[in-house]
């Protein structure tokens, strides 16, 4: 038999019982749609995180201490036209946490002491007011720039510029509010409070090294254009010299890309996991196909007998029923892709537990779901088909 004759035969027998076919298809449709919807949610999360990190600036590097300390002088040494020509500017941070209060309202925020360069390096704009200036840093002024979320928490939409707040019990004057950025690798950028680096150090409990130098918790480094790798190497070389390192580094230089890669790996695992969970329903759908194929073989025992009497070989009968099963599952798969695309469209922007879902549909997910559903039809169709093929023609013809 040709493939067309097989498909034609399968089509006419599938069409013979519409309700049953429809219900069997539904199992596969739901399975495939679930795989596609969940995987596009996973993909959406992945792209969302990547784009948020990239919004910070793609030519960013982060230097963090690793079993050691970084000092303000380390940060300043990274800007040097001779030793670090690929580094444009740096923005060291001194992080402290703490409660931030306005009158009786209290919120917890990541409080970071920064320099004016921070706004340029990390791509921050103020939504209102001004950013921390060199004069603020020099004079250790008690001024603060609020992240949009912190501002919202404390002031509920009112403009906080010029208002006094308390950070760890010390009075600060709000001079600006940052534009919203969303969450990133380093927590939610919007629930931050920025103060002058010197103020953070002297007033909010900064740490000194044994030699008395000012320590910083993070150095943001902006590379010159695309020269990210060069910038990374230069930073490493300078810091190794300054720290007199012979074997293992006591700091780490991460590029934006390495952060994205690490997070993509995590969210990729999440996506696969979501797909696998949805895949269980696809397997259940496959069992439905097997069930209906077994019923079909029993019902059509006489037909099998007739076909055998007319000269059908075992493999003809096998091919016929396997084709039917695969056609069922592939048909369900195609409809499921349609349903999955609709579902991921509907879920896009859907608010779940306070955060918005983003879904990203792509052809490879659909292709994968189709191949898997066809494979499931093949797998669950083989046994019923083999049972049909093994029937003895005379017994099959006698079957009522």
């Amino acid at each position: 038999m040709t493939i067309f004759a097989l498909i034609g035969t399968a089509w006419s027998s599938i069409g013979g019982n519409r309700l049953r076919t429809g219900l069997t298809l539904l199992g596969i449709i739901i399975g495939v749609a679930a795989v596609i919807a969940l995987m596009s949610i996973g993909r959406g999360a992945q792209e969302e995180i990547t784009s948020r990190i990239e919004s910070l600036g793609s030519n960013l590097l982060y230097v963090r201490p690793l079993d050691g300390e970084l000092t303000l002088d380390d940060a300043l040494a990274l800007v040097d036209p001779v030793f670090t020509p690929s580094i444009v500017r740096v923005a060291p941070e001194v992080s402290t946490g703490g409660s931030v209060t306005y009158r009786s309202t209290e919120t917890f925020a990541q409080v970071a002491g920064v320099t004016p360069e921070f706004a340029d390096v990390r791509n921050f704009e103020v939504a209102s007011g001004e950013f921390i200036s060199a004069a603020h840093v020099e004079n250790r002024r008690n001024v603060a720039v609020l992240g949009s979320q912190t501002s919202e928490d404390l002031f509920d939409g009112r403009d906080p510029v010029g208002v006094d707040i308390a950070i760890a019990g010390i009075r600060f004057t709000v001079i600006g509010v940052l534009e919203s950025k969303g969450g990133t690798a380093f927590g939610n950028e919007d629930s931050r409070v920025l103060v002058p680096l010197t103020t953070a150090f002297y007033r909010l409990g900064g740490q000194r090294t044994a030699a008395g130098a000012i320590t910083v918790s993070l150095i943001n480094v902006q590379a010159d254009g695309e020269r990210i790798e060069e910038a990374q190497q230069e930073a490493e070389t300078v810091l190794r010299l300054r720290h007199e390192i012979t074997d293992t580094d006591d700091f780490i230089v991460d590029t934006q890309q390495s952060v994205i890669d690490a997070l993509s790996e995590t969210t990729g695992t999440l996506t696969v996991f979501l797909g696998a969970v949805a895949g269980i329903s696809l397997v259940v759908g496959g069992i439905g196909i097997m069930n209906i194929m077994l019923v079909s073989v029993t019902e059509r025992t006489r037909e099998i007998g007739i076909r055998k009497a007319l000269g059908a070989k075992r493999r003809d009968i096998l091919a016929q029923f396997v084709t039917e099963a695969v056609l069922l599952s592939l048909g369900g798969g195609l409809l499921g892709v349609g349903a999955g695309v609709v579902a991921s469209r509907v879920l896009d922007g859907f608010s779940l537990a306070g955060s918005e879902l983003t879904t990203v549909f792509s052809g490879d997910i659909a292709g994968l779901a189709l191949v898997v559903s066809a494979g499931i039809g093949l797998f669950f169709g083989i046994y019923p088909a083999a049972r049909a093929a093994r029937l003895h023609p005379i017994e099959a013809l006698r079957h009522e």
């Binding site: 004759a5 006419s12 037909e303 007739i306 007319l310 000269g311 070989k313 075992r314 005379i394 013809l397």
Partner: protein, 240 residues
């Protein structure tokens, strides 16, 4: 030239649990090209079993079966299927048509597993030769019993088989339809030289053939030519 069918000392024993049930106890007979032969016998005589073995639907326990000179009795499933497809035209008592297919598609089914060249045209031609050329679109349930059996004959005919085997072909039909069927079989045998072997337990059907082989308890008890075969009256629309 070899006989179309030649069976020698054919035996078939069915096993029912611990019990051995002998059905054929050494049948020997042959059918020559162009013959129209009837196998008769009461129920349990083994005539259907013999028919199934001749039709390559079943294998004998022992003995020899030559189909057009080829020893068939030890063939496996695939070769038997191929023989059923190309050499045997089967007609059953209960027609065995697929209800969801049209008459034409039922006839074409016989060509699906073998030589598919001009399948549609050949199938239409076969339907025309049994007088159903105008009803090819109808499904079995829209046809009378006699018409359904004529579709089944067309299905057996379309492969141009070496022999047509008919197992009680008129068993489910009234006498008028039975006469139609016998007329068609007689005409195919006479005009086209088709070799026909049919099984029946009705004596007047048997007398339409030219030779009667009688079976009893799995043995041939008589094998005689029919002195004056009856000529079935052709029905309207069927050219006799």
């Amino acid at each position: 030239m070899a006989s179309v069918i030649e069976v020698t000392d054919l035996r078939k024993t069915y096993r029912l649990g611990a019990l051995n049930v002998p059905v054929l106890n050494g049948v020997s007979m042959s059918v020559e090209r162009g013959e129209m032969v009837c196998i008769m016998g009461p129920s349990g005589s083994g005539k259907s079993t013999l028919m199934n073995i001749i039709g390559c639907l079943d294998a004998p326990t022992s003995g020899s079966y030559r189909l057009e000179g080829e020893e068939v009795s030890r063939w496996g499933d695939a070769r038997l299927a191929a023989a059923r497809n190309s050499k045997i035209g089967f007609v059953f008592q209960t027609y065995n048509l697929l209800a969801r297919l049209s008459a034409l598609a039922n006839v074409e089914l016989a060509l699906q597993y073998g030589d598919r060249r001009n399948a549609r045209a050949r199938s239409l031609q076969a339907l025309e030769s049994v007088g159903l050329g105008h009803r090819y679109k109808h499904r079995p349930l829209e046809l009378s019993g006699g018409e359904q059996q004529r579709v089944a004959i067309a299905r057996a005919l379309v492969k141009n088989p070496a022999i047509m085997l008919a197992d009680e072909p008129t068993g489910a039909l009234d006498s008028r339809s039975s006469a139609e069927i016998m007329a068609i079989l007689q005409r195919l045998n006479r005009d086209e030289g088709l070799t026909v072997a049919l099984v029946t337990h009705e004596a007047d059907i048997a007398r339409h053939t030219r030779r009667i082989v009688s079976l009893r308890d799995g043995l041939v008890v008589s094998d005689e030519p029919v002195a004056e075969p009856l000529q079935a009256q052709a029905a309207e629309g069927v050219s006799a």
